[in-house]
């Protein structure tokens, strides 16, 4: 009897604990099915005002400390204002992070995200505040090309705050010099180099690519398509997305074929399909490959791994179509956005903070742990690295907007599958182009896809993303 009572008592305790947690004071608002509501928690603590900054974990060691330094200086210059910063999760989890925060009723005033998310999901879902008027006084602080992709429907949805992300070929300069090779400009020159390398060492892979990471395959297509379309690729894509142009034309197929040629001619090899960043770095460090087509972060990773054992150089993606101008995807690595569910009472201090960190001297501190390829803020020095000349003269001037920032995720997914499939002979180039078209058709029929969503928004939707107050110009 006693035991039974004890057990029943324990049960009651457990259940009441439950009830307590369920009823405990919650100021969290549940996501309604309309556009996201703003959080109700006031960002005031003990007379202070708090700005909540959230972003994915900083990839570069020491960058979190740099941010902390700048934040501390900001707080000193502005007594009564605090910045609560949280670096959490992977870059790929940014969208989930933001939506979870909103569902949980968290306040986020500033968010760091990869810019691709802005067009792909965030802006069109009403998750971002329209920053056009907010940022009007400060627009001259940014390098023009870095704004690419951040203006959608003539409104500004984020500001560039990072390094330049640009694609290029990184190569083992020491080996090239040894064999008397010069950086190629055309595809034929590249092929010659590949053959020379193989003569020198039969086991070497002339070029290796991070084929295991699907998101980097579309870069190849962007390069070749820029050339096969007569440098009209961006325009063509807009027309394609708007259903004015099919993707199965000759230019598109040729672009696939040009990528496939790299594999067929032996420049790329089968190992590519199982190589990720670390595999690439290790292969370089051990001299098993001499070139890779990648982006800035790969340069940093390679530099760290090879140290002094070899010199690295870069050259732009070669000309695959005679007489064509090469163009590479390039844009900012990170964008700062203001979520539409931010605390609008904080807009003034948020803008103060933005003004502070976009001053060149402060931006320099934030990014001092990186080898900046090209700054997003005017006045910040790019790193003085050996590849500086090649970067400034040959690669950066040809930057164009990343195509995968424009098309929907399903189409990007189709590219990520189709390109390696054509290389491995699992798909013909014709089928590849068709698969892209099919992907877009499916998106139209199965999801409510509208490539120009800003044209069909209601007044209510616009109100949810328009700031209620435009703070004054805080420039000092």
């Amino acid at each position: 009897m006693k035991r039974f009572k004890a057990f029943a008592l324990a049960l009651v305790m457990v259940l009441s604990l439950f009830a307590c947690t369920a009823c405990s004071g919650s100021s969290s608002s549940q996501a309604s099915s309309a556009a996201p509501a703003s959080a109700e928690e006031p960002a005031v603590s003990g007379g202070e005002r708090v700005i909540y900054l959230v972003g994915y974990s900083r990839a570069v060691e020491g960058e979190e400390t740099n941010w902390a330094k700048v934040i501390e200086a900001f707080e000193q210059e502005n007594p009564g204002m605090k910045v609560d910063v949280r670096w959490q999760g992977a870059a790929s989890e940014s969208v989930q992070n933001l939506s979870s925060a909103q569902m949980a009723g968290e306040t986020i005033d500033l968010f760091v995200t990869g810019p691709a998310n802005i067009n792909a999901t965030l802006a069109g879902s009403g998750y971002l505040m329209d920053m056009t008027e907010l940022m009007a006084p400060y627009m001259d602080r940014f390098e023009e090309p870095m704004l690419s992709g951040l203006y959608i429907g003539d409104k500004l949805w984020g500001i560039p705050y990072g390094d330049m992300s640009i694609s290029m070929v990184i190569y083992n300069k020491t080996l090239f010099d040894e064999l008397g090779l010069a950086a190629p400009e055309t595809y034929d020159e590249l092929l010659e180099i590949a053959n020379t390398l193989k003569e020198h060492d039969a086991s070497i892979m002339p070029m290796l690519h991070m084929g295991k990471m699907p998101m980097f395959w579309p870069m190849w297509f962007m390069e070749t398509y820029a050339q096969t379309s007569g440098n009209n690729s961006l325009d063509n894509v807009y027309k394609f997305l708007g259903r004015e142009r099919q993707f199965t034309g000759a230019e598109e197929q040729e672009a696939f074929e040009k990528v496939k040629a790299f594999y067929d001619d032996g420049i790329l090899s089968a190992e590519t399909f199982d190589t990720d960043v670390q595999g690439l770095v290790a292969a370089f460090a051990q001299g098993k490959t001499a070139m890779c087509y990648s982006m800035g972060f790969a340069y940093t990773a390679l530099k760290n791994a090879v140290g002094d054992s070899m010199d690295l150089g870069v050259f732009p993606f070669p000309q695959v179509v005679e007489g064509a101008r090469t163009q590479h995807g390039g844009g900012t690595s990170d964008a700062l956005v203001i979520p539409s569910f931010c605390n609008q009472d904080n807009l003034d201090i948020t803008m103060k903070f933005i003004e502070y960190i976009t001053r060149p001297e402060n931006a320099t501190i934030v990014f001092s742990a990186r080898d900046l390829l090209a700054p997003t803020i005017k006045g910040v020095q790019a790193a003085d690295i050996p590849i500086r000349d090649a970067l400034d003269n040959e690669i950066i001037p040809d930057a164009m907007q990343f195509l995968d920032w424009t098309w929907p995720a399903e189409v990007n997914d189709a590219f990520m599958q189709a390109i390696p499939a054509t290389l491995a002979g699992q798909m013909t180039c014709e089928q590849a182009a068709q698969s892209i078209q099919t992907a877009l058709d499916t998106v139209y029929s199965q999801r409510d896809y509208d490539p120009e969503w800003w044209n069909s928004w209601t007044q209510e939707q616009w109100d949810a993303v328009t700031p209620s107050v435009i703070p004054p110009d805080y420039s000092v």
Binding site: R3, T21, S57, E106, A301
Partner: protein, 276 residues
Amino acid sequence: MKTKKIATRTLAYLALLVVFLIIIYPVVWMIAGSLKTEQEFYQNVWGLPSQFQWDNYSRAWNHAKLGQKYVNSLLVTGGFLCILLPVVCCAAYAIARVQFKGKNWVFRYLLMGVMIPGGVLAIPSFALAVKLSLVDTRTGLTLFCVAHSIAFGVFLMRSFFISLPKSLEEAAMIDGCTRFGSFLRVILPLSVPGLMTQVIYSGLNVWNNYLMANLLIRSPEKQTLPLGLAIFTAENNVKYPVLFAALVCVTVPMLLVYIAGQKTFIAGMTAGAVKG
């Protein structure tokens, strides 16, 4: 006859050795990797480090604040076991040994939990957590993990209880025990292997759980160990030696728990002399 015996024994030993090496080598490699510098790691992937870089461990510990995360993981996993085991044993006992109306339906209902896919259904769980104000709480994480392990736990314990002779409780109750008392005093001690199995299986899953933890825990000071490791892997530029050092730190306790637990487990089996 004797040569045949020696031959089979040698063969058996050889087989064991091969299996042992296959299992052990990757672990040795990971430990060796944790003691290399980054450059050495990429240039000499499989060999031993030339110099032991012990400071990889302190870097891993500090950069990821492993100490705090250890505490969180212990709280969550400990709490998990403290709630799961009683809950599961009580329910499994009733289902296994007591006749009551709806028994089979209760069992089938709970068993379906074994079949629910993880992954996507974590996201509706988050919506629920918001409603219950359990977001960013270790309690919430613990409760969700308990719920997901109930199905397997009930199934496991029930099959243990079923295999015990019916006479045991009757004997205890004749001696004046209540039903519940006989459960506590007689049946449970004989089911230690089942309990240990849950500790080393479900407990391990919770210790290593990333998905639910990542979803529910949002402030850095409440993060569990797997989330801490994510700092090292979520980048495009993984620092392997430091990551391996962190991994070694994370894995060692579970190993120790297992080493301690497996003796009890096997001992329980043989001492119990229970028909399987």
